[in-house]
Symmetry: C2
């Protein structure tokens, strides 16, 4: 039980996961063909994916310590490999490395909350102002409906992810790989930290109408109005979060 067999509970072979998904597109200058392979993720990547998962599930709470040797044994991989995974997660701000002390699940201070929302305001509002193709707008609509369904099903967890999908879909309208990954990281950071806020049953639920209104404005081509609504939404959301947490 100490070694390999038990490792990697959830990971189903596939999982190109979150991290780096494009070992491509630069091959023009050198290599030539073949880059169309399935790209099997390295062990370090899979470890990172597993930890990301546990982080998202709330199994690892902010401030918790991640010991190299423990994870190394639990997942049946080398300590060195765990170390590489940590580097990945640290780059995504999901984890913080304190030299000679260890890595800890990231936790946001009051300043960070404002910071995160600043990033969201900049990116999301700009994105919605630029509008998007019909398919992208449809994706936003789909996220709204997804939230509705989760609400009637009383599934708070699904409600949270639907909300994330909504905001992800808004940014996706910009058709920018970089913006998408940035937004993805910010959302992951938030989900990680605001997990305990999910306890409040009506927390996300109150956002359903906002999302609906924003989506309608978007579909009607009233981009400025949609932008205003979104901005107000983000400001209100920030206030709520700051009320719930420290500050």
């Amino acid at each position: 039980m100490t070694s390999a067999e038990s490792g990697f509970r959830g990971i189903p072979g596939s999982a190109p996961a979150g991290g780096r998904q494009s070992p491509d597109e630069a091959g023009a200058t050198l290599g030539l063909a073949a880059r169309l392979r399935v790209a099997i993720p390295s062990v370090a990547d899979r470890v990172a994916a597993e930890l990301r998962l546990q982080l998202a599930e709330g199994l690892l709470l902010p401030g918790a310590r991640l010991t190299e040797s423990t994870i190394s044994e639990e997942l049946g991989v080398s300590r060195n490999t765990v170390r590489e995974a940590f580097a990945e997660l640290a780059a995504e701000r999901l984890v913080i490395r304190q030299p000679n002390r260890g890595v800890f699940v990231a936790s946001l201070g009051p300043g960070d909350i404002h910071d995160v929302y600043t990033v969201r305001r900049f990116i999301e509002v700009s994105a919605i102002r630029g509008g998007g193709s019909p398919e992208r707008v449809a994706a936003v609509r789909a996220a709204v409906e997804e939230g509705r369904a989760a609400a009637t099903a009383d599934d708070e967890e699904a409600l949270g992810t639907a909300n994330q999908h909504f905001h992800g879909a808004i940014v996706a309208m910009a058709e920018s790989r970089r913006l998408n990954t940035i937004m993805g990281q910010v959302l992951a950071e938030m989900r990680l930290f605001f997990h305990k806020a999910t306890v409040d049953a009506h927390f996300y639920r109150s956002y359903l109408d906002d999302n609906e209104a924003i989506c309608e404005a978007l579909e009607a081509g009233q981009l400025e109005r949609a932008a205003d609504l979104l901005l107000a939404y983000l400001n209100r959301s920030e206030q709520k979060q700051r009320a719930v947490h420290g500050d």
Copy 2:
């Protein structure tokens, strides 16, 4: 000469460098004091810093291959450590990791150019619209003057960095740690790839007046006008870059 002594040419002890500079602010939940240490960067961090430097200087051209063993020997560090440094750089997109093939200096395809400028449009324009404290505005002005000085001194290299400082200062107005690092990464990415464009002596020079105009509008409190100017600037800049490079 094969081992340690020759390693780390430029690095002067200090160098908190670019990577992670905040092993802090999360300690609230657990530890307590002491976090005010100088935070000596790990070897991996210093290796990453050194490579970042070589990248910025244009010593390593896009598409070039970075062999683990070579760098390991050149800098007198373990292969494993080099590996960790690579992870850092890969997270910053300065380098691309191709599984089982190696890491290569990143190079931007035509799509990436548009992508990078999209990010810049989103962030920089939003930032300028929000304005900033007098000190921040003064920093923007300082960057403009820095560019002027570099122009009269005929120092193309300094002209480029001054331009980066200008745009960095604009984003800095938002007072957001995350936006600053994002912008820093994007600028690093650009500098890396557009290095050869520096050859064109009048490339950056033509931007001096633009920067001046933007700065004036900013100082006059005409934020919308400043935003419009900046947007036009970015669009023009993108066109130029796409003209110079592939597409």
